[in-house]
Every structure is written in C-alpha cells, then in structure tokens.
Symmetry: C2
C-alpha cells in the first residue's frame, strides 16, 4: 500500500536548496509508512526549513491555549509539575471513575487509553472475529492493526457522492460478505463526511447481530446537527447496543496530542476482560491531570465557547478555500477539509513543495487507500494560520 | 490472592481519628488489588493525612531533581512545553533510533514502551507458549498478565536463603515442568536479591531451548559487582541468545514514573511482529523528551554521579535499619530493603499505622504471593527522608 516515490519524475523549477529539502522530505515520508512524519522529525532532519503552519495536524489551537493556561496556573506555577512527573499516576480504573463522572456513563464501561490508538488496538485485537468492514478512505490503523487471521473488507466511499455512506448499501455488503465487525469514523477522517444520529441509530438497530461496531467519535466535537452546534455522542448507548464500542481521542478537540489521552466506552464485560490481563498504568501523569480538568465545569464551559468559535472559523475557512480555482473542496463536519487537486499536480509534490516554499504543512493523501495521488487534507487552524494556508494555496495555484 | 482485612482484629490503642483514617486506607488497599494505592489516591480520599515520605515508591529522588532542572531549563523556560503537549510525539520507531544510540544496540532490537509495563504485557501475551516460570515473591504483573491458556509455575525463593536463586534448582524445575518461558527480575523486586553476571550467563546457556527468557533490569542501575558500582546489563546479548528479552523501566533509576517511559530489547523479528500490528504512537511527548535527554553526555555524566551517591546512601540506610531491634533486614542490591517484622505485628497494620502516625508510607507485602503478612518493603529515599523513615521505624518498634 506504500506509494512508490520517484523524485526524478518531478519537473525541476525550484532552487537547488529547495530541491534538496524536498527530496529529504520524500525520504522521511517513505520511512513513516502510512502516516506523515511528525513536526519534530522534520525539524530535526531539516533544520533549515522554515516551518510556519502545521495544517497536517488536526487540532483546535484555541483549546490548546486554554489547556496551557490551566496547566501553567495549576501545575507549573504551583510546583505540582514535579509531583506529576515523579510519582506513579493512578491506575486506569481510578481514572475511569473520574472520566465516568465527566461523561455521565458508568466507569465500568470505560477503558481509558494511552491516546485513542491503544483502545483501537485492544478492541481490534480482541473483539473482532474473522471479517471486519472498513470504509475507505480512513485512518489507516483500523486496517493495519488487524490480527493476521482477520480479513479486512473495504467499502469504498466515492468522491462524486462526497464520501457519504449509504446505510442500505453498507448493510448489504455486511450481509453478503459475512462481516462480523464494522468500523465507522464519524465524522470520517480524511474526508469529513458525517452520518447523522438517526442514520447511525438505524444502522445499529439493523446490525445488532454483529460482534463489534466501532464508532470513532474523535472528531465529533467539531460536528453538529443544529445551529446550537452541539455534538452528538453514542456513548450512552453501549448498554442498549452491546456490540457497540465508542472510541474517542482527546488529541483533536482539546489540542493535546503529546499527552496521549483517549478512551473507549463499551459493555462492562469487555472492559473487565481487557483490564484483567493488562492495561494497569497506561495513563501517564499529565493525561491524568487532563482527565481531572475534564471533570471541572469552569474549564468545560470555557472550552465550549472556544469549540464553537473554532467551528465558526472553520466554516469561514471552508468558504474561502472553496473559492480558489484549481481545487475542489469536499463538504465537512470535521476540523479539516479534503481537497482534490484539479491542476494535474500530484498530491505528494503539491504538499512537500508547499511545505518547502511556504512553510505550510498539509497532509498528502497519496498513501490513503481509496484515494488517488491527487487529494490533500488541510486542517483548520486558528484564524491567522488559516489565512496563511489560504495564501500558500493561492501561491501554489498561481492565483 | 487478596488478603482478607479485618479491622476488628486490631488492638485499639490509637485515637479515633487515626483509627478512622487507618480503616479508610485499608479500604483503599482493598480496591487496589495487588498494588498499593497511589499517593494521589490516598491524598484525595484522606486529605487530613500528613503525608511526609513515600518510602513505598522505588525511585532515586536525586535523579528526579536532575531531570527537573533540565526540564525547567530546556522545556518550561523555552516555551517548548506547549509544543511537547500540543503536537504528536514521534512514532515508536523514531524514538527507538534515538534510544538505540544511547544504549549501543540496534534500534531494530528495541521496543519502546509506555512504561515498562507495556512491553511486559506485549511480551507475556505474545511470546509465551504454555507454561511460564515466575520466581516468587515478584512483581505481580508477571503472573497477572498471562493469557488464559498459559499456566504459571511458581518457584518460591526462601527468606532463610535471603531469596537467592539456585541455578541448578531453577533448571531442574524448568525441565521437570516442561516450562517454555522464564521471568527473572534482577535485582528482584521485592526482596532485592541479585544474580551476578556469570550465573545469569550460565543460566542463559543452559536454557537456550526455552521460547522466552525475560530479564527485567528495572533496578539494575542500583546494582553492582565491584567497587566501581557499574551496572551490568544483558541488552547486548539478545542476538547471542535469541530467546532473551531484556525489560527496563526508567521510572526507578531516573525517578520519572509519571512520564511512563520504558523499553524492551529483543530479537529483531519480535520487534517487527509487535510493531506491524500496533504500538505506533505509544510514547508520549514528555517521555520522548526524556529519551532525547538520555542520549546527551552531560546529562548522563551528572546522572551517574547521583546514581553512585544514591547507592552509597542506600548502603548507609541499610546499615542503620539492620541495627533496629524487632525487624530483620534482607541483603539487597536494589534501592529498597525487604524487612521481616519479628514482633508479631501484621505487615498491613504496621504499614498503615506507620503512615497515619508518622506520615511515612512503606509497602506492605501481605498481597505478595510467596510472602506471609509480616514483610514490609522500604524504599531508600534521599538522606533526610531516610532519616525520617528510620525514626518512624524506631517509633513503631518502641525504640
């Protein structure tokens, strides 16, 4: 599934130094498999690169600001930082109790994770039988992490249809292929398509016979079904649909990817099964601090204002991007926009040239199965950074 | 394996408030299973408790001081903190490369973990066939984490022999019981007994036919075989003994348990197998910063001085403890001392009464299989804290 990069194919219209950096980035991309090299990795290897905006990184920077304010006041200024770094954090079950209060579900249904990726791995390894259906394009871990004895069946979502999932079609594929498990990212990464509550409820009702249905709600804080911009979660349905597992990363909405905080909500017997033989001290001290904060009303109320502001700015960003010639923007209910390049340039070249020339880092989707090498995913950042991204796109497209 | 606490048995010679706190701690201990409740959990539930020394916690506090100095200068003061918390850390393979340089082994042999507990879980789940031998007393995860279809065979180490392992005896048990995997913590937790390099090499040679031999070197920085106090590691032997897995926590020697940093060194094919289907972003941003620091000579040279100072103070601490009447101290090459209570008091009562009365928290070993309810494990802390621990012991024993 890895793309075969060939630097020689690229027309040489850039300076030698730019070309050098460009080739180095291609190498890095090679090494990172189906993920983008991290900002740290790029900086270390290419110290000369003027890195300005990480529009590859899907997070709300206003939420990071808020977290950092609390962290500075409550942890750094009070000397609590040493305590958090020195001592063992609480066991997972203790943190699940705190999180349970914040989420309004029983802690017995909560698996707290080292990021969302840990519960994803645990669920995929333990609660999938033989055949899993994954909608593509998608977050690659959902198919890369499956056990050797599990078959992945892909349901390709189509750009012409703005990657919308057809429930009838999905149920049919599941029946025909004797699928036992399903993954649904909602809103979906990398295209931003969104299934509304009624459709998902209908799907869950019709798929009660499946072993496991994973709904990944990592981007749900950016989605909404009404003008109030309230997110809609299925975590309180895990007892009504025992095959349901809701996965959630805190990296995106709260802008704290370095902390590695996430969770999954599932039926009690599954949490018990996983916890009996592992996952004891898997949440680090800073992530525990975050989960403490997550139970506090003042933090959450400030956060919610910033969440709504960020959604509004993302809507504006989408509008501006969609006005640029030479690209097509797909509708989104997430904090990113999937863009199709219409000028014939390959996504890899576009993305890495834009990084070298403008310091704006976007996500090439050339390694995403189900998409060709002409899609770029762009994160919405703060207002000023969004303006720089727009500028870079215009520059690259000669506007 | 859980101990059945009965508060009524305890002779009531304490104040009502002390008794109340004491009973609350017993409850907490109940909830924590075969581990001690964390300092945070105790503080939250018993805000009135005067917590002075955590001698339950096995770490070098001088190393924590050093880490905090670097962290303050390089991360907090520079504004890099936000970057570390906001952005994704590098993928595990990238961090393995850094760590490989520091350890002098190929990164292809390194599995970097979310603490040592993650590689322990991964290795126990994936590379043990049917029957694993665990020396007891031990760190409980080594038998609690085994798969349902794996049988644990215990080799009981005896206090009369200062818990020393007999190689001949071990090999015989392994042969008789058709054992395929072995766990060896060296120095061993909770007794501090140590197997020298020659004996382990002999053991590895004689057990080449085993599937997996785990050597847990989490306390090896406190051990030594000569006056130079140099630790002896087996990480460079994983290619010579393909069944060898060396596990290492950074929580103890570097005093950074909240960060969750650890690793395992094993043959390349095993790292590949684990990484192919998971463990992608399992190291958080602060742990990555630590691993960066771990490659720096100035940090390591300062660390080594503090390590040796701490060993010297631990030796003094041992001497002072061994002079107190009413307890027996077992020899140790780790940063803790296993103490047998000779006055007939139960370990649970001794430990929790000492916590309430003196604010000194030690580790009751009542839940450690292979030990009765009369053993207490005491960590060596800094010089001043060690003096407080000695004082508390003397007070409890009426000296």
């Amino acid at each position: 599934m890895k793309h075969d990069f060939n630097a020689n194919e690229i027309v040489n219209v850039y300076s030698t130094e730019d070309d050098l950096m460009y080739n180095q980035i291609l190498e890095l991309k090679h090494e990172s498999g189906s993920h983008s090299p991290s900002i740290n990795t790029i900086r270390e290897r290419l110290p000369k690169l003027q890195f300005k905006v990480d529009a590859c990184f899907l997070s709300n920077p206003y939420a990071t600001n808020l977290f950092m304010e609390y962290f500075q006041t409550e942890v750094v200024n009070t000397g609590r930082l040493r305590e958090i770094l020195e001592f063992y954090p609480s066991q997972m079950s203790v943190i699940a109790k705190k999180l349970g209060k914040a989420l309004g579900v029983s802690s017995k249904n909560i698996f707290v994770g080292n990021g969302a990726i840990e519960p994803i791995q645990a669920v995929i390894h333990n609660f999938v039988k033989k055949r899993i259906l994954v909608n593509i394009p998608t977050f690659s871990s959902y198919y890369e992490f499956v056990r050797e004895d599990v078959q992945v069946v892909y349901n390709r979502l189509l750009p012409d249809n703005d990657f919308e999932i057809s429930i009838d079609n999905l149920v049919e594929i599941i029946t025909t292929n004797e699928i036992d498990s399903l993954v649904l990212i909602n809103p979906n990464n990398p295209d931003g398509s969104y299934l509304c509550k009624d459709k998902i409820t209908d799907l869950l009702e019709r798929l009660r016979h499946l072993e496991t249905i994973i709904i990944d709600e990592s981007f749900v804080h950016f989605a909404y079904e009404s003008d109030e911009l309230e997110p809609i979660s299925f975590i309180d349905m895990v007892n009504y649909f025992p095959n349901l597992v809701v996965v959630k990363s805190m990296s995106k909405d709260f802008g704290i990817a370095g902390l590695r905080a996430g969770y999954a909500v599932m039926r009690e017997s599954r949490v018990t099964r996983l916890s009996e033989r592992g996952y004891l001290w898997n949440v680090n001290g800073l992530a525990e601090y975050f989960f403490d904060l997550y139970t506090k009303e003042d933090f959450l109320s400030e956060y919610d204002k910033l969440r709504k502001r960020y959604i509004a700015e993302t809507k504006d960003f989408y509008k501006e991007l969609s006005r640029i010639n030479g690209i097509k923007t797909h509708p989104t209910r997430a904090n990113f926009i999937l863009i199709e390049l219409l000028n014939g340039m390959l996504a890899d070249e576009f993305v890495f040239r834009m990084l070298v020339r403008y310091g704006v880092y976007t996500r090439t989707c050339s390694d995403k199965i189900g998409l060709g090498n002409k899609y770029v995913r762009v994160a919405s950042r703060g207002k000023e950074e969004n303006a720089r991204i727009i500028e870079a796109f215009k520059g690259m497209l000669g506007e």
